[in-house]
C-alpha cells in the first residue's frame, strides 16, 4: 500500500516519544551542571606529577628529571630543567629533581605517551576537566607547583591502577633493599678478610629507586588539597 512505509516510520517516532517518558534507554540526556555522569576510571585529561608525601606536595616528587617524557612527547609540550643539587627523595637516596617542570596545556593532546614511557611512574593522567580559564597565555602553562599532586589523590581517582603501581614500587624497593643488604654483607665479608682491600664502591643500582625508608604510613585522612582552579 502506498503510505505504509511512512506509517511505519511514524509509529517508530511515536514509540520513541512515549518511550522517552518512562524508558530510561530512550532518554539519554544528562543535564550536565546539575547531574554529573560518573566517569570511567581510565578517563584521562592533562597529566600531573605524583608526589609521595601528601602534606608537602613539593617535598617528594617522584620525578628525577630524566627527560625521557620530554623527548618522547609527540607535540613536544613538556619543558624540564634539571636541578643542580641533589635532594634525597622519598626513599632517602639523593636524586636529581626537576627545577622547572612545565607542561603547555594549550599544546598537550593528553595522549598519555609520557605516562607509558616514564620508568619512575612519576607522571600520571589526571581526570580534572573543568579547567577553563580566561587567560590564554600564562594560565595554560602549568608549572611544577600546579602539576604536583599527592599519591593519595592518585589513589582516589584511579584506585586499581594506583594500587598496582604502588605494589610494583614497593616490590622494587624490597628487591633493592635485599640487593643492598647482600652488597653490604658481601662488602663486610670482603672487608673482614683482606683488611686493606679497596672498599667496594657501593654499587647502587642505577635503576629506579634506592632502598627506601619504611613507606610513610598513609596518613589517615590526609587533607587532600582539592585541585583548586588556578587564579583566573
Amino acid at each position: 500500500m502506498l503510505g505504509s512505509g511512512l506509517l511505519q516510520g511514524l509509529a517508530v517516532t511515536a514509540k520513541n516519544l512515549v518511550g522517552s517518558f518512562h524508558d530510561p534507554a530512550r532518554y539519554t540526556t544528562v543535564e550536565y551542571p546539575e547531574v554529573k555522569e560518573q566517569l570511567p576510571e581510565s578517563f584521562r585529561n592533562f597529566p600531573f606529577l605524583v608526589t609521595d608525601n601528601a602534606t608537602d606536595p613539593m617535598g617528594a616528587l617522584r620525578c628525577v628529571a630524566c627527560q625521557i617524557c620530554e623527548k618522547e612527547c609527540p607535540p613536544q609540550c613538556i619543558y624540564i630543567e634539571k636541578s643542580k643539587d641533589k635532594k634525597p627523595d622519598a626513599t632517602g637516596k639523593p636524586q636529581l629533581y626537576p627545577a622547572v617542570f612545565a607542561i603547555d596545556t594549550s599544546v598537550c593532546m593528553s595522549c598519555q605517551i609520557c605516562v607509558e614511557v616514564c620508568p619512575f611512574d612519576a607522571i600520571k593522567m589526571d581526570q580534572e576537566f573543568e579547567i577553563a580559564t580566561t587567560d590564554r597565555f600564562s594560565a595554560l602553562l602549568l608549572n611544577r607547583e600546579q602539576l604536583a599532586k599527592p599519591n593519595t589523590y592518585f589513589h582516589q581517582i584511579r584506585p586499581t591502577e594506583a594500587a598496582e603501581v604502588d605494589g610494583r614500587l614497593t616490590a622494587e624497593r624490597k628487591a633493592a633493599e635485599e640487593k643492598a643488604k647482600a652488597a653490604a654483607a658481601a662488602k663486610a665479608a670482603a672487608a673482614a678478610a683482606p683488611k686493606p682491600a679497596a672498599s667496594a664502591v657501593p654499587t647502587a643500582t642505577p635503576a629506579a629507586t634506592a632502598p627506601t625508608a619504611p613507606k610513610p604510613a598513609a596518613a589517615a585522612t590526609p587533607a587532600v588539597p582539592t585541585p583548586e582552579k588556578p587564579a583566573p
Partner: protein
C-alpha cells in the same frame, strides 16, 4: 632550489577551463543528463554556486564549486585543503611511536582502525610478531568501529535528505554506547591511541568484555527499529534509488574501495582478500549491491553492520588468554631495518593504508597515508553530473567522507 616558479606550467592546460567530460576515459554520463557546458543565451545563463566550506551539508570544511543550469548540476569541482596540516611531514619528523596519537586525528570517527592500520604497517616493516590475544582485541575493536561509522553515516545521510535530526539522534544514541566502551578501555572516547607495535596498550578486563557482549546483543533491536523508520519509507525510496549510479568498471579504475565499491557490485573486501589478523578463521558474508546508487550504498552499510554483529558474536566466544603485548617488542627505541612496507586494512570507509620507508633511524624516512575518503572523492563529479543540487548533497553524503582524512 625551488620548483619552477609559476605553479601551472604551460605543458598543462590552464586550470581555469574545467575538465570537459571527454578528457576522462571511462566517464559514463549519468542517466538523463543533458550536459550543456556552454552559456547559450536563449536558456538563460548558468548559475555558479559555491557550496563553500561553511555549508551545513558538506560534512566538514569541504567546498564544491557547482555550476547549475536551473537545478541540474552541469559542472562540479571539489575544492579541499582547508584542513591540511601536512600530517605526513609531521610523521617524518617524529619517532614511530609519536605518530600513533596523530593517526587518531586522520579519520576522527574511526580512530581504532587507523591505529590498527598504522600498527600493521610498522609491524610488517619491522617484522614484529603480534600475540594471539592482541589480534582478537584488535578485531573486536575494528568491528565496533565499523558499527559506529556505519551508524553515523546512516544518520548523516538522512539528515541530508531532510529528516530533521531524528534518525541522526537515534544513530548518535547508539554511537555513544560504543564510545563509552572505548573510553573505559583506552581512556578517551575518540582519540584512543590504544594500539602499539606488537600488541595493545591495556589488557581489557572481563567486565569490559561482558559489556561488549551486552552491546552486541542489544544492537540488532536498534537496527530493526532504524530500518523500520527509514528503509521502507516511500520518500526515501523516491529520493535515493537511481541517484549517483557508479558503474563497476569506473569504480575499479578509480580505485574506489569499501562499501561504495561493493555497492557497485564488485566483490572486493580486504578482510577476505588480504586475510590479515584472524579474519580468515571466522565466517562472515560480504553483501554486494546491484545498481551502485545511493540507496545501495546505504543498504550495503546496514547489511555490513549486521555482518559485523555476527562476526563479533563468534569472536567473543573464544578470546584466548595470554599477553596483550609481545614481550620482546621495544616501546621506545624502535629502529626498523632500512626498507619499505605498505600495510592496509579494510577500514569502515574503505582501504586505509600506510606506506613507510625506513632508513634505520628512529624517524621514518617517508610516512605516507592512503586515505579511502580522498580517493573515493575522485568520482564525485561523475556521479553528480545531470542530477539536481538536492541529489548532489545526498551523493556526497553517501560517499561518507571525513575531512581530517581527506586533507591530512
Amino acid at each position: 632550489m625551488s620548483a619552477p616558479s609559476e605553479n601551472s606550467p604551460s605543458a598543462v592546460r590552464p586550470p581555469s577551463s574545467g575538465a570537459d567530460p571527454s578528457a576522462f576515459p571511462g566517464l559514463t554520463s549519468a542517466p538523463g543528463s543533458n550536459i550543456r557546458a556552454v552559456n547559450d543565451p536563449f536558456h538563460g545563463d548558468l548559475l555558479e554556486v559555491s557550496m563553500g566550506p561553511h555549508h551545513p551539508s558538506t560534512h566538514g570544511v569541504f567546498r564544491m564549486m557547482v555550476t547549475l543550469d536551473g537545478e541540474v548540476v552541469v559542472k562540479l569541482k571539489p575544492v579541499f585543503g582547508y584542513l591540511h596540516r601536512n600530517h605526513e611531514k609531521l610523521g617524518e619528523n617524529t619517532t614511530y611511536l609519536a605518530s600513533m596519537p596523530y593517526t587518531d586525528r586522520l579519520d576522527y570517527l574511526c580512530s581504532m582502525t587507523n591505529n590498527w592500520a598504522y600498527a600493521l604497517a610498522v609491524e610488517k616493516l619491522a617484522g614484529q610478531p603480534v600475540p594471539e590475544r592482541a589480534e582478537y582485541i584488535r578485531l573486536i575493536l575494528a568491528e565496533l568501529t565499523r558499527l559506529l561509522n556505519h551508524v553515523c553515516l546512516a544518520g548523516f545521510l538522512l539528515q541530508d535528505c531532510g529528516a530533521s535530526g531524528t534518525p541522526l539522534m537515534y544513530a548518535f544514541r547508539e554511537r555513544e554506547k560504543i564510545l563509552d566502551l572505548f573510553e573505559s578501555l583506552s581512556g578517551s572516547r575518540m582519540m584512543c591511541n590504544y594500539q602499539r607495535f606488537g600488541g595493545c596498550r591495556i589488557d581489557p578486563s572481563a567486565e569490559w568484555l561482558d559489556r561488549v557482549r551486552a552491546l552486541v546483543a542489544g544492537f540488532p533491536r536498534f537496527l530493526d527499529e532504524f530500518e523500520r523508520l527509514i528503509t521502507g519509507n516511500e520518500i526515501m525510496m523516491a529520493r535515493t534509488p537511481g541517484v549517483g549510479c557508479l558503474s563497476p568498471k569506473l569504480a575499479i579504475s578509480a580505485g574506489i574501495t569499501g562499501p561504495m565499491l561493493r555497492a557497485a557490485g564488485v566483490d572486493y573486501d580486504l578482510r577476505k582478500v588480504d586475510g590479515y589478523g584472524i579474519y580468515p578463521r571466522y565466517k562472515f558474508r560480504v553483501p554486494l549491491g546491484a545498481h551502485g546508487d545511493t540507496y545501495d550504498r546505504y543498504m550495503i552499510r546496514v547489511l555490513e553492520m549486521r555482518e559485523s554483529l555476527g562476526l563479533l558474536e563468534q569472536v567473543m566466544k573464544d578470546i584466548p588468554g595470554g599477553p596483550i603485548m609481545d614481550p620482546k617488542a621495544k616501546l621506545r627505541g624502535l629502529r626498523p631495518k632500512a626498507g619499505e612496507a605498505y600495510g592496509r586494512i579494510e577500514g569502515p570507509k574503505g582501504e586505509i593504508g600506510f606506506f613507510l620507508i625506513s632508513d634505520g633511524s628512529p624517524n621514518p624516512y617517508r610516512y605516507r597515508v592512503r586515505p579511502p575518503s580522498f580517493v573515493n572523492l575522485t568520482v564525485l563529479e561523475d556521479l553528480c553530473l545531470g542530477h539536481t543540487i538536492a541529489d548532489a548533497v545526498i551523493i556526497l553524503g553517501s560517499i561518507d567522507i571525513v575531512l581530517g582524512e581527506v586533507d591530512r
